[in-house]
Amino acid sequence: MGKRVQHAGILLLAVLLLVGIAAMQQGKKERNRYETSFFDSFDTVTTITGYAKSQEAFEEQTKLLQEKLMHYHQLFDIYHTYDGINNLKSINDNAGKSPIPVDEEIIELLKLGIEMHQKTNGQINIAYGSVLSIWHEYREQGMADPAGAQVPPEELIQEMAAHTDISRLVIDENQATVFLEDGEMSLDVGSIGKGYAVQRITEYAKELGMDHFLISVGGNVSAVGAKADNTPWLVGIENPDLESSEAYIGTVELADQTIVTSGDYQRYYMVDGKRYCHIINPETGMPPEYVPSVSVLTNDSGMADALSTALFNMEVSEGLELAESLPGTEALWVMKDGGIRCSSGFEFHEKE
């Protein structure tokens, strides 16, 4: 009897030990961190950092995100057409002619554009393509031939600005068609397209069961969950002053959130020693000159993208008011003198 009890005890002990170890292992699920980058979408570099069980699993997952991102890139492209899909170029090419059947995601994007136009008092205008294309042309020329770089003549800008009325963008949701009533107008979703796409692939990543990923499409950063140890991702806000030795003005913690920055220091061209950046204020037809950069932290990357552009187009005091009025949205401005302003809830680790 005693022996039997003893044996049973030993057996129980061994089982307990093994089960305990197995259970705790399950809870832990040790994963490694991987990173990948590619260039094929939105004319920028996309970096995906995340935790996966193996390199193969990571590549399999990020490959799906890359394809999805490419899909949006093609849908929102205004320079190229692609076989078998109607994209924004198709809509622009048929301006004043006929409605074009499009993917429901294009319609959703355009609706976001219209919504943001209203929310930002017209500081975001996705129907501003006619003016933007003039700037695009002059910028390309100016970069190819810096000595001969020119600013587009004011008359030309004003002439084109007559064809930027967003109310003439007609969306028929029932038919799933889009039509530009003004034959001279064109769409350019540069201020929201990338953000919208990032938001969609963030959601797609969650659907795929990816839960610890950081996606950055050209500095448009979105966090799927936190890091594997459940601490937030640490994201640096780049210093717009490229002469400075400080790469970042500071960092923010990101978990299931997104941060997007608009600045004048990345894409620009010089005319007579003056910098003209790629963001154009729809009110003036000129690049705004309020601040070097604005970052917006919120839950939706499309919103963040649109808002950062809108705030870049506004005076800081006006922008602060707008940011404070939006729940769950915070903004940070880097001022011309290098100083920092931010909305009341922005948690920011300043570089000392």
């Binding site: 003893q6 005890g9 002990l13 307990l16 030990l17 305990g20 170890i21 705790m24 292992q25 832990k28 040790e30």
Partner: protein, 167 residues
């Protein structure tokens, strides 16, 4: 029989107290739940004054008791792994009769720590924890030596006591 039960109860209480002391002065080896194993003292005393079976029972009771009182599942798991390995090492070391109580205790201490770290490696799935190996051998040796000397003193007195009572 009654005497034996009383003796076991006393040793269990002592082990419990020692574990409590250890709980009060935790040493941080970088692995949560890994401890020095002061309560080994009682296990050794039981092993020498009573026998293998009693030492095993005592050890198990102590671990479960402590696990529920002071610890968390992780700590209990580590103690269990450490306790079992330590016990096996001490039983083996005592049988080969090469060492005195101190030597047996030293081996018990070292294997106690090794058992814990092995359980930790399995749980965390991170072999880098083995970097703690030298620290654990060192701490196991030192703790084992101190405990062994103490145990030798206690066993000497208890032995006399038990023998006198049994006569």
């Amino acid at each position: 029989m009654a005497k034996k039960t009383a003796y076991m109860g006393m040793l269990t209480a002592l082990a419990f107290v020692l574990s409590y002391i250890e709980f009060l002065i935790p040493i941080n080896l970088g692995i949560p739940g890994v401890k020095l194993g002061l309560a080994n003292l009682v296990t050794i005393v039981a092993l020498y004054t009573m026998g293998v079976k009693e030492a095993c029972t005592l050890s198990l009771v102590r671990i479960v008791l402590n696990g529920f009182t002071f610890g968390n599942p992780a700590a209990m798991l580590y103690s269990l792994a450490g306790g079992i390995l330590s016990l096996l090492a001490m039983i083996g070391a005592r049988r080969i009769k090469l060492f005195s109580v101190t030597g047996v205790s030293v081996l018990g201490g070292v294997f106690h720590n090794l058992g814990q770290i092995m359980a930790a490696v399995l749980v965390v799935e991170n072999a880098r924890l083995l970097y703690y190996f030298p620290v654990l051998v060192l701490s196991g040796t030192l703790a084992g030596t101190v405990i062994g000397i103490l145990a030798a003193l206690i066993i000497k007195r208890l032995d006399k006591l038990i023998r006198e009572q049994n006569q």
